[in-house]
Symmetry: C2
Subunit: 160 residues, 2 copies
């Protein structure tokens, strides 16, 4: 699938996948959210080929998820900082981590989230903003042209 196809898809999920629908890109984003900003640090942590890292960082800058900012003149050096658009992906990455914690491992999760000031553990959950009801306790359907003709109810495991 070419990225341009995703980009031009009317669905916001497809558009989002055009930006972050690649494992390396998501791992770079994970590290950026952890505070990594420099090319050499991404390389070391991820074990990513340099050419691949360059391409992915360029892609994320082009899509304004990261911003390349000079931090030194002699010799010239830049670092990659999250933009507000990139920072707004934090909840997606956090939820992906929690799903992996819950469904893909038998051991205790290696990473926990805590509030910086208090050290209190943070347990992220998606709720409806107006009511505070967790999304998984609501029966929600998607409505709109992209979903036309598709029943909103999730497929169940029952074979009916």
């Amino acid at each position: 699938m070419r990225r341009t196809q995703l980009d031009q898809n009317p669905c916001s999920i497809a558009k989002a996948l055009d930006v972050v629908g690649d494992p390396w890109t998501m791992l770079i984003l994970r590290d950026a959210l952890l505070g990594v900003t420099r090319f050499e640090d991404f390389t070391t942590r991820l074990g990513i080929p340099r050419a691949t890292l360059t391409a992915r960082l360029d892609h994320l800058c082009e899509r304004e998820v990261l911003e390349k900012v000079p931090y030194q003149d002699h010799p010239p050096r830049s670092e990659y900082l999250l933009t507000p658009k990139g920072e707004a992906l934090r909840p997606v990455v956090v939820l992906l981590m929690r799903w992996g914690d819950e469904w893909l491992r038998d051991d205790d999760p290696p990473t926990r989230l805590e509030e910086v000031d208090t050290g209190r553990p943070v347990d992220p959950v998606v709720v409806d903003r107006a009511t505070g009801i967790p999304l998984d306790a609501l029966e929600v359907r998607a409505v709109g042209p992209v979903t036309t003709g598709i029943a909103g109810r999730p497929a169940s495991r029952s074979t009916n």
Copy 2:
């Protein structure tokens, strides 16, 4: 990057990307969450090559995100139903959609979420379960071996 490398990575995000870190896989998951269950319906909606769809569906069944269930004997036909593990990815997909809605388009989002019983609009937000405080209002850090040596504070746009 080979998928086995992601699978064996200690990080839950990498493990999750081994399962869903591919645009086609995420689009199949999106449609499964909308209620699509049959091979022909996935093909028609996604415009995905049949061999690719087969491979991705097999992958999702192998990882127990989908379950292949017979619904007809003569001729034999099966459909693909979300497991609880697959259903648990709904918040991730919903948040990805909302991020796309907010950051990747100028027009109104084509898809809205509503509660099935009431038709009331649903606006998903990630909060801390214990306090109900939105994640983006908290300063949160990740703690654990995967993040060793990395400051927990998010990179800011300010230089240094």
